[in-house]
């Protein structure tokens, strides 16, 4: 199974930045979701960030909230998420970061959840509503399942805490470039650059930037700031949303956009 380490060091040699699209698993339905994700890999994605839909996603803006509801209504659940991940891995061995809210993990049983998703082909877990203060609840089970951990750093995280974030993180640090929930923004705050710089001084753990990135120009700015990866979520989910009922068009639009970004960074 391809690791983050391999991908990040390969890209570094080519002086490149990882392109990391985010998808809500099962949005708008199982088959479309699978085909769009496969197409994104073909279009140049280096790593995938895949979210399991939750009824109350408090860290997400309207675009991903709606996607979560679409996916849940279309029958997405943990068992199907496992199946979807397996099918994606059949298409290509690409590192996958899983993103979800804690209650889904907690109800399934943390150890079993991690073990099953690792077996399906997931590399790391990021729990949106679990901070490093409670990292101990997951680092043990993650390590024994063979999963990397991903934690977040934000514009309001102080340097001491950043160090702590780095120390608990084995995959990459998910750096939130703006204050707020997920969602496309016209203007990316200039804090991203400073944040990446600060983190780079503190740690060797790869730093990826997400939240608010919706254009190739913004992705380039993040790459130039020294980020190891660019995570694009709401923009891609909105392309899926814009083409509900037309799978082929959704595939074309997502692929075209990702190829454009890949080319730019």
């Amino acid at each position: 199974m391809k690791t983050y380490k391999q991908v990040f060091s390969e890209l570094k040699e080519q002086n490149n930045t990882a392109l990391i699209p985010f998808f809500v698993l099962g949005d708008p339905d199982f088959d479309t979701s699978l085909e769009v994700i496969k197409a994104s890999i073909d279009a140049g994605a280096d790593i995938l960030e895949l979210g399991i839909p939750f009824s109350d996603p408090i860290a997400d803006g309207p675009t991903i909230q709606k996607a979560d509801i679409r996916a849940i209504r279309a029958g997405m659940n943990v068992a199907k998420a496992l199946e979807l991940v397996r099918k994606v891995k059949e298409h290509r061995d690409i590192p996958i970061g899983l993103l979800m809210y804690y209650n889904l993990v907690y109800q399934y049983g943390t150890e079993k959840f991690f073990k099953d998703f690792h077996e399906a082909g997931v590399n790391s877990v990021l729990i949106a509503d679990l901070s490093i203060d409670d990292a101990d609840e997951i680092t043990g089970p993650a390590a024994s399942a063979g999963l990397d951990t991903v934690f977040m750093a934000t514009p309001v995280t102080d340097p001491e805490r950043m160090k702590l974030v780095a120390s608990k993180t084995t995959g990459f640090i998910y750096t939130v470039s703006v204050l707020g929930v997920t969602g496309s923004r016209e203007k990316l705050s200039d804090t991203a650059e400073g944040l990446v710089g600060k983190l780079k001084e503190l740690t060797d753990v790869p730093v990826c930037v997400g939240f608010g990135i919706s254009t190739p120009e913004q992705a380039v700015a993040v790459a130039k700031a020294g980020a190891d990866g660019v995570i694009i979520g709401s923009k891609i989910v909105s392309l899926v949303e814009r083409n509900l009922g037309d799978r082929d068009k959704a595939i074309v639009e997502v692929s075209t956009f990702l190829a454009e970004v890949k080319n730019a960074i």
């Binding site: 009824s55 408090i58 907690y106 901070s131 490093i132 934690f151 703006v178 204050l179």
Partner: protein, 393 residues
């Protein structure tokens, strides 16, 4: 964080990383000021002269006669704003002021916490936004209007069922983007640490007063203390005054909604299992996988799928008992208290009264029950009218 905010294994602060610094700041400010002399003096003055504390303990004799034992009402409904919510909004609002915050946000279900926040926003001259589900806006339009009169912006939340849970989701999201200048005035004894502790602190005056009033007016402690439980702030407020009085039964009454057995309710402690929502580990109404259930109750203030973490511990240890009252019984008792005492109880508080009616004829006539009448029912008149049209007579 200095503290873990745990009640047994419940509680904690399961929130996105971006909210951690602002919760730390809040925790620090709370522990700095809650015993600060100036803070305490200022809050005591406002509690008395603005909110109208202490609230009376009233022996409801005709209602007592009906149920067959003694019922005393802790009249939080008489406070400014018509509910116990002002205790907490004064406390947190003052905390916001001491912290130098200039903007308030809050969530609301029935609109009582929203109104109590709007009042305090006006009192302290702070820009205030209240998040409220669209279903609740419709069923509690009078409170919406009152909030607007106080200069508050009411933001309709469409997600989910448009109720309290969804309002909290959006308030948290908004806060995430505005952590630097905005104080989130949380309304119930739930959510992430330090809110359960803060809200309990500012609501404990209910229980402290009630206990002393029992001793002064009756000459003894009650046999039971009964309160409705949604998130659980009025209940924790009155229960906490009696924690050490082991012979006083503490009874929390949840929203049985249309029917507990059919799954159309909001009785979290009665029918839920442990999960994580809105920053805390607590009992939660959810499906097998952990997706949060939709809830149903005639009372917007109790229409919530989670519950305060301390109540979870009180349930597990057996110190408090939790039961549910269904909508029809709640509507019955709304009419009953109005007819027997001339007091219109909030539909939320009516749940506590409905439990007493369920005990009619089962208790010794000497028994004494104190009920937290947490709010007045004026806001609910149109809902009751819809369910129980008055006959022309």
């Amino acid at each position: 964080m200095k503290h873990r905010g745990r009640f047994g294994d419940y509680g904690g602060f399961y929130v996105p990383e971006v909210l951690i610094p602002v919760l730390e700041e809040l925790e620090e400010a709370f522990y700095n000021f809650y015993e600060d002399r100036q803070f305490v003096t200022e809050l005591a003055d406002l509690s008395k002269n603005y909110a109208g504390r202490p609230s009376p303990l009233y022996h409801a004799k005709r209602f007592s006669e009906y149920v067959g034992f003694n019922v005393y009402l802790k009249r939080e409904d008489l406070l400014h704003g018509g509910a116990h919510k002002v205790n907490n909004t004064l406390g947190q609002g003052l905390l916001a002021k001491y912290m130098g915050k200039t903007k308030l946000i809050a969530e609301t279900g029935a609109g009582q916490h929203g109104l109590a926040t709007a009042m305090i926003g006006a009192l302290f001259g702070m820009e205030t936004k209240v998040f409220m589900g669209v279903t609740d806006i419709e069923r509690q339009s009078v409170n919406v209007h009152k909030m607007k009169l106080c200069g508050t912006k009411v933001i309709g939340v469409e997600g989910g069922t448009g109720t309290l849970k969804d309002a909290i989701n959006d308030a948290l999201r908004y806060w995430t983007a505005h952590v630097t200048d905005t104080f989130y005035l949380f309304g119930s004894a739930c959510g992430p640490h330090p809110y359960p502790t803060i809200v309990k602190h500012f609501q404990r005056c209910i229980g402290e007063e009630a206990r002393q009033q029992c001793l002064d007016q009756i000459g003894r402690l009650p046999d039971m203390v009964v309160a409705c439980v949604g998130g659980g702030s009025n209940a924790i407020g009155i229960f906490s005054g009696f924690f050490d009085d082991k012979n006083v039964r503490l009874i929390g009454v949840e929203a049985g909604g249309r029917s507990v057995s059919e799954g159309r309710h909001a009785a979290t402690l009665v029918a839920g299992r442990v999960g994580i929502l809105h920053g805390a580990k607590a009992y939660l109404l959810q499906d097998d996988e952990g997706q949060v259930d939709e809830t149903e109750s005639v009372s917007a203030g109790l229409d919530y799928p989670a519950v305060g973490p301390e109540h979870c511990l009180l349930k597990d240890t057996g110190r408090a008992e939790y039961v549910a009252a269904e909508d029809e019984d709640v509507l019955d008792v709304f009419e009953l208290l109005s007819k027997t005492e001339g007091i219109l109880p909030a539909l939320e508080s009516s749940h506590a009264l409905a439990y007493l009616v369920s005990q009619k004829g089962k208790l010794d006539p000497e028994q004494i029950a104190v009920v937290n009448l947490s709010g007045r029912g004026d806001k609910d008149v149109s809902i009751v009218e819809k369910h129980r049209p008055l006959l022309n007579d």
